[in-house]
């Protein structure tokens, strides 16, 4: 079974600063995907970024980037130039990669990020 661990329950950062959210996972699979989802106070689940396990290059999406360390089973999210709208719960999630789709997401417990003005 796959597990996802987010050891920091809560963090705060000043606006315009950089913050890193940590995530570790455990799996015996070799083909998988990792995701970061954001859940603002509206409770909507918003996909932030995705990483394929077979890719060595770290994914980036504007101010969001990841540090994927496959051997260490670590997948951290870096948010640069933090904005007030980044205040949310952040969930790290794992998915086995398979043909034919329909693979479930396994989530970590989440981390509450507060961006202060």
């Amino acid at each position: 079974a796959q597990t996802v661990t987010q050891s920091q329950p809560e963090m705060s950062v000043q606006e315009a600063e950089t913050v890193t959210l940590s995530c570790t996972y455990d799996t015996s699979e070799n083909n998988y995907y990792l995701f970061w989802y954001k859940q603002p106070p509206s409770r909507q689940m918003i996909l932030v970024i995705r990483q394929e396990a077979y890719k060595q290059q770290n994914a980036t999406e504007n101010r969001f980037s990841v540090n994927f360390q496959k051997a260490a089973k670590s997948f951290s999210l870096k948010i640069s130039d933090s904005q007030l709208g980044d205040t949310a719960m952040y969930f790290c999630a794992f998915m086995i990669g398979a043909q034919g789709g329909s693979e479930k997401l396994v989530f970590g417990k989440g981390m509450k990020l507060t961006v202060n003005p």
Binding site: R43, R50, G97, G101, S102, L105, F107, G108, K109
Partner: protein, 112 residues
Amino acid sequence: AAGVIQSPRHLIKEKRETATLKCYPIPRHDTVYWYQQGPGQDPQFLISFYEKMQSDKGSIPDRFSAQQFSDYHSELNMSSLELGDSALYFCASSANLGPEQFFGPGTRLTVL
């Protein structure tokens, strides 16, 4: 761009009643997932459908059932509701060509 639609957005039921939650996936998405998120919890996978067939099942109580229809929309039927069923229920959809799951806004179910 079109997103996943869920209805109703809010639902209040009494214990032992039944509830039906509906999900309309993004057009041309063939896979639907249901997740349950309790207060202060992470989303937990319930069940998924691919091309109208059940493809995976998680921690879904026997009191719950679901199906995907010919137009790809899905319904989650919940019977004999319990207080512990109070949660946010998400539907997500994906296309077979990619791993991303896109979530709907959720249905907040309150059981009194």
